[in-house]
């Protein structure tokens, strides 16, 4: 992946890091400051009766953390393949969770002006989009994802 162009001067202060991830055929970007660790493929345990979007747990640093089915949650049509290559461990507030992706690229820093309202992409939790390496991808708000999952899980009977 080519290095992103950064403008000089004051605009550089508005630069923003993003982490591009691929789920199936779909590329998304997230805030890399939420990522705790990037792992390879990890086994996990399915919890019976769990929501499809929150199907189980995996062991990380001697604790059990929730596994999210991010593709389902986003409604983007993207879903990690049967044996996803990468496991992303992220943290929002006091909630640590994992989700699976097929590809994770290096963190890129892009001009904040290059991030705008979504036009070419749509989906839940997508409030912005960006263009990177000729790919338009949604910038996913993981905090909003966790907020909705927590409220849904609390009401799931």
């Amino acid at each position: 992946m080519e290095p992103a162009h950064l403008p000089d001067g004051p605009a550089r202060r508005a630069a923003r890091p993003v982490l591009p991830l691929q789920l199936g055929d779909v590329w998304i970007a997230i805030d890399p400051t939420l990522v705790q660790e990037m792992l390879g493929a990890r086994s996990w345990v399915r919890v019976p009766g769990a929501m499809p979007q929150l199907p189980g747990v995996l062991s990380w640093r001697s604790r059990a953390i929730a596994v999210l089915e991010l593709g389902d949650l986003l409604g983007l049509g993207g879903r990690a393949s049967g044996t996803p290559a990468r496991t992303v461990v992220a943290r929002v507030a006091d909630c640590t969770f994992a989700f699976f992706v097929d590809t994770a690229r290096e963190v890129r820093t892009i001009d904040a002006a290059a991030i705008g309202p979504p036009h070419a992409v749509s989906g839940r939790f997508v409030t912005q989009e960006l263009s990177l390496d000729n790919k338009v991808m949604p910038l996913v708000d993981l905090a909003a994802v966790i907020d909705v999952v927590a409220r849904t899980a609390g009401g799931a009977g």
Binding site: M51, S59, A64, I65, A150, A153
Partner: protein, 129 residues
């Protein structure tokens, strides 16, 4: 009758009565279990399936009687085993999962290399009986 307490586990280990219910394996701390018996007409029991605990409908029913108050006898269905794991392998379930009323019976999970199973909270079972 299954002997749950043939040997006390080491201090840094926990013994579970584990039920392999096919799609899901779960366990209950052996120290919470008074006995495992065949069903009898004389005993009031609650089917674990009604409490949200997985069961294998094809398996023969066994009655797990729990220690404590109030007394509780729960019918479980699945392949039973006694498993001892390092205490460090017993991990709290994430709050995201325990928030669901469906999972109130589950308190933690054992995630070990050779054993992975959900742990059912004995107090939750007693309270549901």
């Amino acid at each position: 009758m299954t002997d749950l307490h043939a040997a006390d586990p080491p201090v840094d280990a926990v013994t579970f009565l584990v039920v392999d219910a096919g799609d899901c394996t779960w366990g209950i701390e052996a120290a919470q279990v008074e006995s495992v018996r065949d069903p009898s007409d004389a005993e009031a029991t609650v089917d674990a399936g009604r409490l949200g605990v997985p069961c294998d409908p094809a398996a023969s029913p066994r009655v797990v009687r729990l220690h404590g108050t109030p007394p509780a006898s729960v019918v479980v269905r699945g392949r039973l085993a006694i498993v001892t794991v390092p205490r460090a392998d017993v991990q709290q379930l994430p709050a995201l999962l325990t928030a669901s009323p469906r999972h109130r019976a589950f308190s933690s999970i054992v995630l070990a290399d050779d054993h992975s199973f959900l742990v059912v909270d004995a107090d939750a079972l007693r309270g549901s009986c």
